[in-house]
Amino acid sequence: MGKKLVSLENIAFKYEGQSRHAVDHVSFDIYEGEWLAIVGHNGSGKSTLAKLLNGLQFPQAGTILVNGKELTEETVWEARSKIGMVFQNPDNQFVGATVQDDVAFGLENAGIPLPEMVQRVQNALNKVKMESFLNQEPHHLSGGQKQRVAIAGVLALQPDLIILDEATSMLDPRGREEVLETVRELKEENLLTVISITHDLEEAAKADRMIVMNEGKLYRQGIPTDIFQMEGELIELGLDIPFSVKLSKELKERGIGLIKSHLTEEELVRELCELHSKM
């Protein structure tokens, strides 16, 4: 595993007027180049965690280290330039009047000079394959396209880490695949580190590592295969485990000679085919 990019040490956070901690003494590390999925029921503190990482909220206890430097009110702008965020609602994060204006927004904030800005906007839009929509207005774009523009806006700032906070949950299946494919390609290309906060365990199954949150606490972390071993528990935590995992388990219980556990449909189909050819 690569070097530590961000580490959280015993982070606690409570919203004003709330009796319960939204994030309750959580510690974990994020490594360079990995895809980390954070799952958990509604209100388990995932978004709050993301906001803490970006300095949109500050913890009441514990420290966050970004590249070894503590995240405080003084270092927050530096940290924000390294950590990009894409939010759930495609409409409510589109600031610019057109696609290119929106991508440029973060660059304008950073005071990047115009010639470089033009270059970076172009590059970022090429990377998410939205270069032909330069002058399009947001209400003429699909949800998936808007999210890709949001990703371009983050990429233009050349961050080390991108946090997707349920960025695909409001999209139709095609838009979802479109966005995930984009992020996957980007991650392959330039060693971007990805945190994807999601409800969709099928999506989480494809991550390198998973964190399960429950009522503000870190419930479990590990590789997806291990996490999905605890099916019953996951369901109790209010999560819906992937169909392939359920089916594979049922089949095993019925005495079908499957050996592995299956996080994706393809894996299951492959082993079933192999099994079939042996019969």
Partner: protein, 265 residues
């Protein structure tokens, strides 16, 4: 449909006026509004009319859009005209229908005031018809820049305006959606007594406002996450380009002013 009412104002045609710098167009409108008051006789009004006509022709905006701009105040124009004819009793009597006497002074005043109205509306609507709203915002921001010294929050105002413009279609769409949802529950927006119709609007406005506030909050967070911290130290992606046509237009405006001063009586 609702969408067209406000945003349909900008007519994207390829014309000299469209390509001009929004700053020069804004200045044009501002100066035009001032110098139109110099005109006080037939020849000076004729001159302004000619100038307006040239601008309209350069803009290549179809007549129907210009007419749409005039329509709402057509009544006002006719009304003032009639008022002058009836009540301005200057000069000589031109018509006499017994109870009604029309003076040439009234006729002239009526005509001039109506012309002034018409030209003003035509030129100002030319601005919105040939410039997309976001460019107008950009132009305003640069033109108002000097007023920053007196604590006018120029950057904030223009950002506010551009965000408002960007969200108009989004909110229109949402209104439409909520309206349909209410209609599916049997709410009638389009008929019945006025009181009932106003009552029907309330369950439309409440969810709309709630969602607008939620959007605003999320947008603020998203902006902050992307490093927004006010106008200080910000660069601008949209650049305005002052071209030769803009200078020419300004010069023609100066010439027009001089001519008006010479020709007015």
């Amino acid at each position: 449909m609702l969408d067209k009412m406000i945003l349909g104002r900008y007519v994207p045609v390829d014309s000299t006026i469209h390509k001009m710098d929004p700053r020069s167009k804004l200045l044009l409108v501002f100066l035009f509004v001032c110098i139109i008051f110099l005109a006080n006789n037939l020849i000076s009004y004729g001159l302004i009319g000619l100038f307006t006509l040239i601008l309209l022709m350069l803009s290549k905006i179809p007549i129907r859009f210009l007419y749409n701009g005039l329509k709402p105040i057509l009544f006002l124009i006719i009304f003032t005209f009639v008022l002058h004819i009836l009540f301005t009793k200057e000069g000589e009597v031109v018509f006499n229908f017994g109870w009604l006497e029309i003076y040439d002074g009234g006729l002239r005043q009526g005509l001039f005031i109506s012309l002034r109205f018409t030209f003003l509306i035509l030129v100002t609507s030319l601005l919105t018809l040939t410039t997309n709203p976001i460019s107008i915002t950009d132009g305003m921001e640069t033109l108002l820049h000097p007023f920053k010294k007196w604590k006018l929050p120029v950057h904030e105002l223009s950002l506010m305006m551009s965000i408002a413009l960007r969200f108009i279609p989004t909110l229109m769409e949402e209104t439409d959606k909520i309206m349909k949802a209410q209609m599916a529950r049997g709410v009638d927006f389009s008929s019945g007594p006025l009181k009932e119709r106003i009552k029907a609007i309330v369950p439309l406005l409440v969810p709309l406002f709630v969602s607008a506030f939620k959007r605003a909050e999320e947008l603020a967070i998203a902006m902050e996450a992307r490093g927004y911290r006010g106008g200080e130290g910000r660069t601008k992606y949209r650049q305005l380009k002052w071209q030769t046509v803009d200078t020419l237009l300004m010069l023609s405006l100066v010439v027009l002013t001089i001519l008006l001063v010479l020709l007015r009586s």
